[in-house]
């Protein structure tokens, strides 16, 4: 594909950052990715009048840098981010109402399913297992 070529080295631009940047560019430019020894080469062709291919590639590069840094920050602050997001959504949503509970498939076939193993006592789950017949007690 014709266009401006931009190399994004993997040490600075993880593939996720490249993808995130490319995704936000798809309405404004045609973006084609190829591997290079150092990372990824993006060929960028602008869709917009007045915006050159070089400018579009530069915008992609800016966005890739922002995304790479954002991913770095997110990795470090993951627990805080998850705590806030969970609290925000849970606080806004609130507990399920009667209509939702009634919609849940709780019938004879599923009522006693225990996918999380919470119906098991701690001893059953983690305690010493009794010796099998013929073996010594552990």
């Amino acid at each position: 594909m014709q266009g401006a070529r931009l190399e994004l080295v993997r040490e600075l631009y993880p593939l996720d950052a490249v993808y995130l940047a490319a995704y936000t560019s798809l309405d404004r430019a045609w973006v084609f990715l190829e591997s290079s020894p150092a990372g990824v080469v993006a060929t960028v062709r602008s869709k917009r009048d007045g915006v050159s291919d070089d400018a579009a590639a530069g915008q992609l590069g800016n966005e890739a840098l922002a995304q790479a840094y954002r991913l770095h920050l997110a990795r470090g602050g993951r627990r805080v981010i998850e705590a806030i997001a969970t609290r925000a959504v849970a606080g806004a949503a609130g507990p399920p109402g009667l209509d939702e509970l009634l919609d849940m498939e709780i019938g004879e076939a599923t009522a006693f399913d225990d996918p999380l193993g919470i119906a098991m006592s701690w001893e059953e789950k983690y305690g010493k297992k009794p010796a099998k017949k013929g073996e010594e007690e552990p």
């Binding site: 084609f32 990824v40 062709r45």
Partner: protein, 78 residues
């Protein structure tokens, strides 16, 4: 005819299939898999040419669609 070479390390096969299907009304698309890449050979349909579409643009849009779908499938979409 325009040949697009989608490296398997960068593009998802299902995404490419979906992109190719989406653009079938606009072009004849021959697919091949070779040397770690999905190769699509795109030839503009006569009806699309009559409507004023350029082969290079249709190929580029198909590639964009494949990239977008790849990113969505990967779960990296923002």
């Amino acid at each position: 005819m325009i040949e697009l070479r989608f490296e398997e390390t960068l593009y998802d096969g299902f995404a490419i299939d979906e992109a190719a299907k989406t653009f079938e009304p606009f072009a004849t698309i021959d697919r091949e898999r070779e040397g770690g890449a999905f190769i699509l050979r795109v030839t503009l349909a006569e009806s699309a040419a009559a409507d004023g579409h350029a082969e290079a643009d249709v190929a580029a849009e198909l590639a964009n669609h494949a990239l977008g779908k790849t990113i969505e499938r990967r779960g990296a979409a923002p």
